[in-house]
């Protein structure tokens, strides 16, 4: 406790027991050092690549003659390259890094079999690299988020098998009976992903399903990847980080249980909402819309749980970078889900189905929700791996605000532009080109938002680079966003 009345240290831990536990945690953290840093470093490198690609893609969309005429720089290749770099390079690797660290900590065991993870990370990087190269050279499959050609899928799958088998082995060596909420989500993610990826590959490329079902499988895959892979990792992370930083247990295990199972049950059925009014049997789409509406149950329970956990501790957002990013992510989960319900309703979908609104939706999920949560976890984990504290609180603050304003502006621009585009598309008295001209100014605004996010990512990469080089602060006090008046110690 400090003079501001904000508990910045885990209060539950008594002195003697605390020392043992802290020592144990330090050992566990040290054992995760190499693999987790390997994941994080690759992820941040991919983040920078993906950000640069995103900027080019964004500018080319409203200035089609920019860099055109060169096959590997054409918009239709850069865009899937950007998406896949972000999905498989950045988000998956960063998520796995955090998941590995959380798994080790929650199993209360030092990390075993680091070679499995290192090999997995290396293979994964090779896979993404070849895949992005293949897309740029014109070997894309054209299926959303499954653009990597088949040979790359094999590499990724091998890499993934290595990592998933690590997770299973690790889980078997856990200590203690209690399986914490975070572990449910992480186990779910680790087990869902291979099934999902294998099913997508098999049903699209090995034994392809007929006709429109290819699209159904594609969107089933993409939505489940968003919810059951990225979403599950992010929710698990939030369930760990929020109570950890404020030093208070999760408000209700019961709510968490309801939230987890309804999340697994309903969000996995939402894929077809991307194809409302498409050439499908109506029951498929209706079932997905119903499932999307039902996802309000996990949203409400998870949101309520986080809120009640945080209650009374919101002033901490002023200081802790981890908490600020994680709470932003957790709140975005609600916004993302509510928007998902809104745009899946038939009456709305007929307007926004083919507009930029779907881009806004994806970015809300993958950036505002997932990426921000993972940024938060990185701010917590990296100091524990390198034994240094983040060097500049101001850079973290800048990172947060540039990211937050960037994604906020981008979402607003794409939503507003998309709704207008949809309204014009559904107005047959207007020529088609009118709908495009309407959205172009908003796309320029989106590029502006992209610049903000680019700044944020470069700042973060620079700061992370300093940490890697051992140039962080040597201090027992974590780096706060704003100075805390009194001397404090302990976790942040």
């Amino acid at each position: 406790m400090n003079t501001t009345g904000i508990p910045l240290k885990d209060p539950a831990v008594s002195a003697a027991a605390g020392d043992t536990e802290q020592l144990e945690r330090a050992y566990i953290d040290a054992s995760t050092r190499v693999p987790v840093l390997m994941f994080y470093t690759s992820a941040i490198a991919w983040l920078i690549v993906g950000t640069v690609l995103a900027m080019v893609v964004s500018f080319k969309l409203h200035s089609p003659d920019l860099l055109s005429g060169i096959s590997f720089l054409t918009w239709g290749r850069l865009r899937p390259a950007h998406m896949n770099v972000m999905v498989y390079g950045w988000a998956s690797m960063a998520g796995m890094g955090t998941a590995v660290w959380l798994m080790a900590r929650l199993c209360r065991a030092t990390l075993r079999f680091p070679l499995l993870l290192a090999a997995g990370a290396a293979f994964w990087n090779v896979g993404v690299l070849i895949g992005v190269g293949a897309i740029l050279l014109g070997d894309s499959t054209g299926f959303q988020w499954l653009e990597f050609p088949r040979y790359v899928a094999v590499i990724l799958f091998v890499a993934y098998t290595l990592m998933a088998s690590w997770a299973v082995l690790m889980f078997r060596h856990r200590r203690g009976d209690q399986i914490y909420i975070t572990q449910w989500y992480l186990l779910g993610a680790f087990l869902w992903f291979p099934w999902l990826y294998a099913a997508g590959q098999l049903m699209l490329f090995v034994v392809p399903v007929q006709g429109v079902l290819q699209s159904a499988v594609t969107w089933w895959y993409a939505n489940n990847l968003l919810f059951l892979w990225f979403g599950a990792i992010a929710l698990g992370t939030a369930y760990y980080m929020i109570p950890k930083v404020i030093g208070r247990p999760v408000y209700s295990y019961h709510l968490a249980t309801i939230g987890f199972w309804t999340y697994a049950l309903f969000s996995s059925w939402t894929g077809m909402t991307r194809l409302v009014d498409g050439p499908f049997p109506a029951w498929m789409i209706t079932a997905s819309i119903a499932a999307t509406i039902l996802t309000m149950i996990p949203v409400a329970t998870v949101g309520l749980n986080h809120h009640l956990t945080m209650k009374g501790y919101f002033p901490l957002l002023r200081y802790s970078p981890t908490l600020r990013f994680t709470v932003f992510g957790a709140m975005s989960y609600t916004v993302f889900s509510v928007l998902g319900v809104l745009i899946s309703l038939r009456s709305v979908a007929s307007y926004v189905n083919f507009t930029q609104v779907s881009i806004a939706y994806t970015h809300l999920g993958l950036y505002a929700f997932f990426t921000m949560t993972i940024f938060g976890s990185m701010y917590y984990i990296v100091p524990r791996l390198v034994g240094r504290e983040w060097r500049y609180g101001s850079l973290i603050k800048l990172h947060f605000w540039a990211s937050a304003y960037g994604i906020g502006l981008m979402t607003l621009m794409l939503l507003a532009g998309g709704f207008l585009q949809g309204a014009n598309l559904e107005n047959p008295t207007l020529p088609f080109s009118e709908s495009i001209e309407t959205v172009l100014p908003y796309l320029r605004g989106r590029s502006l938002a992209g610049i903000l996010m680019t700044v944020a990512h470069f700042i973060f990469a620079y700061h992370f680079g300093l940490m890697l080089l051992g140039l962080g602060r040597t201090s027992t006090v974590p780096t706060f966003l704003n100075p805390v008046e009194a001397e404090t110690s302990g976790g942040h």
Partner: protein
């Protein structure tokens, strides 16, 4: 949570439920559709596509066309896709059974392409004498899309010379299938400068103002001294589409697609499409100018003694686009409006089915 077994079972169970529900059962339901045929078994739809079509689909995928173009027409009671002349009926699962990969698409930064092949001029059109406009219907051509177009045209300052060169209107028989109301009223719209629609505005039938091309599969006759001199004269910078096409191939013909892929903004100044010049080869003319060479004009035209010819990939992607055609009626889908009369679709069968009173009990209608 107590016990591992419930956790693992739950994780597997929930996902299996989704997997079976959204992919396995639909495969069982609509995953093994066969083409439809009439009683004699002669009029089969859909038919397997050519090898060029298939390869074109991969070029389409590789260059990310799907990120801006959808290939699905929604029902008329849901959206105005049909009113935009993107099709004469909603798309059905059966339309796609021979396509692999299928690109339903999720974005319309460009037009829907489900029926782009059906909107091409029919081959029969080519021998039609130029200037075969039917003036009888000309006066009636003031419906809302052309009116909108007129405003657009006025904005872009059309040279009056357009009126002097009456473009050949297509006869009603060759009206595009995409137009539900292929009435003579809108057919000759293109003959009057005031009522020409801009290119993006789901062109009315008469908009094929250009000189008729030999066939969709072939390039327009572009030997030097052929139609090329006409092009520069018609190329007013910033002029709207109908004027620019005066010397260019008819809209949605193969030749048109090539020019559009190579230089989208030469055809439509408002276009937001990137140019796909890497699918074309610029080369020195050796002897005769190639019959395949693109009819380019203005700044896009190659220098004297050079020509731009499509690569095999470009020909395939155009073959793919020309093959996208869902105008053929399906038994369980209600077609809207007039009959499609295209190269591929035999019109008599269509005529019978198009008003479709039978749709009342059809599955498609039942879904609503």
């Amino acid at each position: 949570m107590k016990g591992l077994a419930p956790l693992f079972l739950g994780i597997f169970g929930t996902f299996a439920f989704s997997w079976i529900g959204l992919t396995v059962i639909p495969t069982w339901q609509i995953g093994h559709l066969n083409p439809e045929s009439d009683e004699e078994g002669t009029d089969i739809y859909p038919r397997p596509q050519s090898g060029m079509f298939e390869r074109g689909g991969h070029v389409y995928a590789a260059n990310g066309c799907v990120y801006c173009h959808s290939q699905q027409v929604r029902a008329d009671y849901i959206a105005d896709d049909i009113e935009r002349k993107w099709g004469n009926r909603r798309s059905a699962p059966r339309d796609y059974i021979f396509e692999r990969p299928v690109f339903l698409g999720k974005m319309r930064m460009g037009q829907d392409l489900a029926n782009i092949g059906a909107r091409a001029p029919a081959p029969e059109e080519s021998p039609a004498p130029t200037g075969a406009a039917s003036p009888a219907a000309q006066g009636a051509a003031v419906s809302s899309p052309p009116a909108e177009a007129a405003a657009k045209t006025a904005k872009a300052s059309p040279p009056p010379s357009q009126a002097a060169s009456p473009a050949p209107a297509t006869s009603p028989a060759t009206a595009p299938p995409a137009s539900p109301a292929s009435s003579p009223a809108t057919a000759p719209a293109g003959t009057s400068p005031a009522s020409t629609a801009p290119p993006n505005a789901s062109p009315p039938p008469g908009q094929r103002t250009g000189v008729a091309s030999p066939s969709p599969g072939q390039m327009a006759n572009t030997t030097p001294g052929g139609s090329s001199p006409a092009a520069p004269s018609a190329q007013t910078p910033g002029a709207p589409w109908p004027i620019q096409t005066a010397g260019l191939p008819p809209i949605y013909s193969a030749a048109w697609h090539h020019v559009h892929l190579y230089a989208p903004r030469s055809i439509n100044p408002d276009s937001n499409m990137p140019a796909y010049r890497f699918l074309y080869e610029k080369r020195r003319i050796a002897g005769e100018r190639s019959a395949e060479a693109l009819q380019l004009s203005g700044s896009d035209a190659p220098p004297e003694g050079w020509e731009v010819v499509p690569t095999y990939d470009a020909k395939c992607v155009v073959a793919y686009l020309m093959g996208l055609n869902q105008s053929h009626p399906l038994k369980d889908v209600r077609s809207v409006g007039g009959a499609p009369a295209t190269a591929g679709a035999p019109s008599p069968a269509v005529q019978g089915a198009s008003p479709a009173p039978a749709a009342g009990g059809s599955p498609a209608a039942a879904k609503k």
